[in-house]
Symmetry: C2
Subunit: 767 residues, 2 copies
């Protein structure tokens, strides 16, 4: 059995030895360097340029401004194309923009023979800019008289949506005798992905073909968006995705590829390289959406959840990118985690502002939604005087849950086991008792948060994936996925599935880590935790198809029927258990038979019309230093129900990575801006991600309930680990101190203010 084993990553050796080729390793030596000239304001209009000094810099090849680019608006979100125009992404930007909507907006680009010349000339480009007021928040942007960012959206609201579930109303529920109501305003800030490898693409031409080599999660979507942006047939663009150092959703946006593709067309097909600096990546690509919520919840005295209302404002920044899809997904957490017996009202606004454009980031709205849901849930349990875990067990969704809007079904149910496993692991009941009624400067608490997460985007959007396999003369098989390895271990998991489905040892599988849209099977890419579930099924189907062809060919060699033949560990075995041939025998003969050569390959598409929920929870134990306003995380335990694990060690590593992101989201990460929307900490010195020193032992536990819809009983695990950590720590803080903090991150500054307001620091100023 290849599936279920903790084999080492298939790319481990190539990566640790430096043999793996990343985009930066593939840039031709003579490539031109393109440096983007960025707006020094967040809102305004470029009225003209003075390029005299910039053009005089030796080494400059050409300078292009926002007045030179095609008058074509295009989208950047990494969504599958839709043939239905109303479902297509918003086309609200050009390659370079005269209308400045974000600080650092792309207004011109210098192409030079080397980086130094390009950067020097970019600094010397003089833009005449009419500055407009910058809008920081949805409220400012929705205020009457606010400047309009995109004329197609007067009032700056990208989309407003709402739904009502249940037969009653919140007010009816609140009228229940003894009902406990909580309400409040909650918020989360914009944060950044901080992938290790920067945003990097280069492009060149051969004949009519524009090749874009890019560190992207979504090569097939990049090809389409480049085609749209340049106004050319999509397959005139070829996208190659090499090894990657992470993306986390930022590379599920099409960031610099269309500009690179266009530049090479303007420069005789010469290679043009665009590698963003760390500062550009942090300040000028995409962020996780900041959200503001006004919410309320009511429960009956026995802790039965009756009703909630939810009003979200999602800060979109200057361009639509993934837009309202994030707010819509965030709203799902309310209904998909708990049962409101009376009603649930949800309203969401996604609003353009002059903050950096928000896009996809691990969890796609759910980390935000989970923070508010789980904070609200704990605040309600606290008001009820009820154990928050007991409250959850009483009110969370049950086996067989079906989302009333889209029909997504919880085919397998492990949430109850998840909660019990976490309860035991953190010693919940004893700790909850132990940490009651603490006094003193250092107080401890335990908290938890749960989540549910769907395993792909069906039926909201298309789910499709293809795979191709080829048998070689030595019995080894190459596997081509359209799905992408971006650092998460996808290639290892597909290798195991391919081996399992054909009947080969895993070391007989050669997976192609590089996608090339000209020849790789079609797939929409790495997002929505979809690949193991959706693309994995394409892999399994293709492996089974290839196995059938191998057995058919073997039967021909043996002059018998294929019925009764199987493949085990590379051996072809008959009904009696006897090895009658090897797969290598078939590989050799199929290529070199003088009477019947037939190259054995298989290719299958999985059109996926299934979805299912993964679930999980985080349990945190913390110690709070009241005087320093500091949270020390003592233990952090994630428990996941992601169905059957294809590779337990890899699953554990995936959980560790997500927990680390959750820890930063909880305690330290936030993008800071001045009033003019200029980023203040767009670098890794001032933007605080957790270091090894900040990180406790990360504990990952699993509940393996086979899901009948996954290729091998598996379901989503990619994004989930990042989701529940921040609210679990926030809820542990509530337990330790009784202080309900309504926003992230839980910085010392913020905590000191709360502790002072709560009287925990006495009259003295501890600072």
């Amino acid at each position: 059995m290849a599936v279920g084993q903790s084999i080492p990553r298939v790319d481990a050796f190539a990566k640790v030895t430096g043999e793996a080729k990343y985009t930066a390793d593939l840039v031709p030596a003579n490539a031109y360097v393109a440096k983007i000239v960025r707006a020094p304001v967040a809102s305004g209009w470029v009225r003209g340029f003075d390029l005299t000094e910039a053009q005089a810099v030796p080494g400059v090849v050409r300078i292009f401004t926002c007045f030179d680019v095609p008058d074509i608006q295009f989208p950047t979100a990494g969504h599958p194309w839709s043939t239905v125009p109303s479902h297509q992404d918003i086309c609200d930007r050009k390659l370079l923009n005269a209308h400045i909507r974000v600080w650092g907006d792309e207004i011109a680009v210098v192409v030079a023979r080397d980086r130094i010349s390009a950067e020097r000339a970019a600094r010397l480009v003089k833009a005449d800019i009419e500055v407009l007021p910058a809008l920081s928040t949805p409220d400012e942007a929705m205020a009457p008289g606010a400047p309009c960012l995109h004329e197609e959206k007067p009032g700056n609201v990208v989309v407003h949506s709402q739904f009502h579930l249940g037969d009653g109303t919140f007010d009816e529920a609140a009228a229940t005798p003894g009902a406990v109501v909580v309400s409040g305003h909650y918020s989360v800030p914009a944060v950044q992905h901080c992938h290790m490898e920067p945003v990097h693409s280069f492009a060149y031409m051969e004949g009519q073909k524009i090749t874009v080599v890019s560190s992207t999660q979504i090569p097939h979507i990049v090809r389409r968006v480049c085609g749209q942006a340049l106004g050319i047939p999509w397959s005139r663009v070829r996208v190659i995705k090499p090894y990657m150092g992470g993306g986390f959703g930022n590379k599920q946006d099409v960031l610099v590829e269309p500009l690179a593709a266009w530049l090479t067309t303007q420069l005789g097909g010469h290679a043009v390289n665009i590698e963003l600096s760390r500062e550009e990546v942090l300040g000028c690509t995409r962020t996780r959406h900041a959200f503001d919520w006004d919410v309320q919840a009511v429960a009956s005295p026995d802790g039965t959840l009756l009703a909630r209302t939810y009003c979200a404002k999602s800060n979109q920044g200057g361009y639509a990118s993934h837009g309202h899809a994030i707010a819509a997904n965030a709203a799902n957490v309310f209904k998909q985690c708990y049962r409101d017996r009376v009603s649930l009202d949800s309203e969401s606004y996604t609003v353009y502002t002059n903050r950096p454009t928000a896009g996809a980031m691990r969890g796609y709205g759910i980390p935000q939604g989970c923070f508010i849901t789980e904070a609200l849930t704990d605040d309600l349990a606290y008001a009820l005087g009820m154990d928050p875990l007991e409250f959850r067990l009483k009110n969370c969704v049950q086996a067989g849950y079906v989302d009333p809007h889209n029909g997504i079904t919880m085919h397998a149910y492990g949430l109850d086991q998840v909660l019990e496993k976490g309860r035991a692991a953190i010693d919940w009941d004893a700790k909850r008792r132990l940490y009651q009624n603490q006094t003193g400067d250092r107080r401890r608490g335990v908290g938890m948060a749960l989540f549910t997460y769907k395993s792909n985007v069906y039926p909201i959007s298309l789910e499709t994936a293809s795979c191709r396999m080829m048998l070689h003369e030595d019995g080894r098989v190459t596997v081509q996925m359209g799905a992408t390895e971006i650092g998460q271990g996808a290639d290892t998991v597909f290798t195991q599935m391919a081996a399992e489905s054909i009947g080969l040892p895993v070391d007989a599988i050669d997976i192609q880590s590089v996608q090339d849209t000209d020849v790789s099977p079609f797939d929409t890419g790495a997002y929505a935790s979809r690949q193991t579930y959706v693309s994995g099924m394409a892999c399994k189907m293709t492996g089974e198809s290839l196995r059938g062809k191998i057995l058919d060919y073997a039967a021909g060699m043996l002059e018998r029927s294929a019925e009764g033949l199987t493949i085990t560990d590379g051996q072809i075995v008959d009904e009696t258990g006897q090895t009658v041939l090897t797969v290598a025998d078939v590989g050799m003969e199929s290529c070199y038979s003088l009477t019947n050569s037939r190259h054995l390959t298989a290719e299958e598409t999985y059109h996926c019309e299934q979805n299912t929920f993964a679930t999980g929870a985080c349990f945190a134990e913390i110690e709070v230093d009241l005087a320093l306003g500091q949270i020390h995380v003592l233990r952090l335990v994630n428990v996941h129900d992601s169905g059957r694990l294809i590779n337990p060690k890899l699953a554990e590593a995936q959980v560790h990575g997500g927990m680390s992101m959750g820890l930063g989201y909880a305690l330290s990460e936030e993008m800071l801006f001045d009033d003019a929307c200029k980023p203040l900490n767009a670098n890794l010195l001032d933007y605080k991600i957790p270091t090894a020193m900040d990180t406790p032992k990360l504990e990952a536990l699993f509940v393996e309930v086979d899901d009948p819809t996954g290729p091998y009983g598996n379901k989503a695990l990619g994004e989930p680990p990042a989701i529940p950590v921040a609210p679990a720590i926030r809820n542990a803080l509530l337990h330790a101190t009784g202080v309900s903090v309504h926003s992230l991150p839980l910085t010392p500054q913020k905590l000191i203010e709360h502790f002072r307001a709560a009287g925990l620091l006495g009259g003295e100023d501890h600072v």
Copy 2:
């Protein structure tokens, strides 16, 4: 109709603009440079090395000698693998060899950080060599007591073969009353391919995978030979073939790829680059075989060919490479061109010597065989006092000819039309009369030669080819061939076939010029003029398969049956001739349908068990300057029967290139050696290929007789144009002067000797 049109080469733009990436364009900037240390003698044993000085050169990384390499012997010929051991190529060399068999034999290799250091250190490697006598000719090598080059072949004969055809004997035929007999010793020298791009490969590793990027005609065979040479599973090697600047058979040998592959395994997977210098390519790779023949022919007085005997000695050089296959093929010309009414006796020896290893070169023995056959034919006609064209018409093979040994059949017959078309074009009858009985220092003549040529290697060896196609969203199709574009225009021809078979305009086809053995369809490669005939059929089959899938999908979209739907110029047309959808509609829907996405690709293998003969002739008109011993070619007309032409302009260009090679073979090209087998002219200053100044207007004419076995009525055209030129010029010389020269090239030195011997120069020395 895409087939039959003279569309421009699909790679023309990329090549003339320099956008096309050749092997040299892809070498990583930090690649190590490997410089081969070559033996300064042609025969001997390396007893040891002193590497002290070489290792002290700054920049040297490692030096490997013949004592360091794996003790594995491997072959280098670009033949398909055979699962039958007796049909496998001779394994007679290691990566580096202590037993020196050729001048410049690879005895060590220096790996350095740069070319200068590598070359400097290579010059400082000191080898202790025991020198043996060098054997120049088969006669020397077959003499008793000659040193043995390979212990597996005592006596140095690689293979000796013979056959007899006919019911009688030569002596019986010669006893015919009035019979005319001619006999003689004829010979051709070794020549070199002189491809524009040198031999060049580099290799690197990612994990367990060794990637070899190489300018090769035969990527799948290179992979196999690298696997053999390194003793590893073949698919651990991945071969990538970029754009290429020619090969002409030299790159149908596996020359430096195994060494590059092995070196990277010894250097932690670091890229290692081996680019041979022009001098190494000319002196130390492969040559066209030199041949010696003793032959005789007899005809009845009316010009009926009765019998011939043929004894060939093929000078193999130091290693087997393609070995006896060349001599065997050369012997075919006798039987496949003319009908001996009484008997034909053939005997061939392929013999190891210490000359450079001979391998495949355009025509694979047939240019040599055609020279001797056609020289002998003209000498016989001359002796008979008969017009040599009339003699040929009387004795050449007829429609329906079947080779008695292998059953290859002349399915379509255009030889008669070829001869008549050439006769008319050169104004044969008038010129033959006009140039009779000339006197003076400048004399003119017309001569001709014919040939037949099979269209692939079946049934001597395996013929198999695969193709894959993929439909994109915009209705364009990428085509992946295992067959290789090496400069000859294969990609253009396949593009036309793909367009024709699917029903698309040619500009909707994107052919992939780069082969990658990990993912490209399987094919044995560019040789034997096979690709248009064999691989073209795979292309056609795949196109028809894809067309069927497109129509099926379209039928689903239209909710009707596919019966009656066709594709014309990218439009899907129904029974009434109405356009009902476009292929682009299907492409888009098949990728993005929310209910039925199914990525449309097709992949087919053509297992070829067909062959057929192409034919042709060259007609030459020359003027001979007796005093200077110089031949001026006034007109050169090739007429070809290659079945239907896929692209007439490309066919014409192919013929022009072949004629140019034939011209050099006729007049100036030969490799020269000293007695110790050291090359004397292994550079393009001293080795004389024709320049534009040496080249007359090249005239290409065609007879298009559809062949029922070719994919579109087509048959071999790749090698044939080079075949008949040299004997046609040689025969024109006979016509002009009455001098029968028995060897090539027809240099001034040689001609002066012949003219003096024939008394044409009088008693004076003109020099």
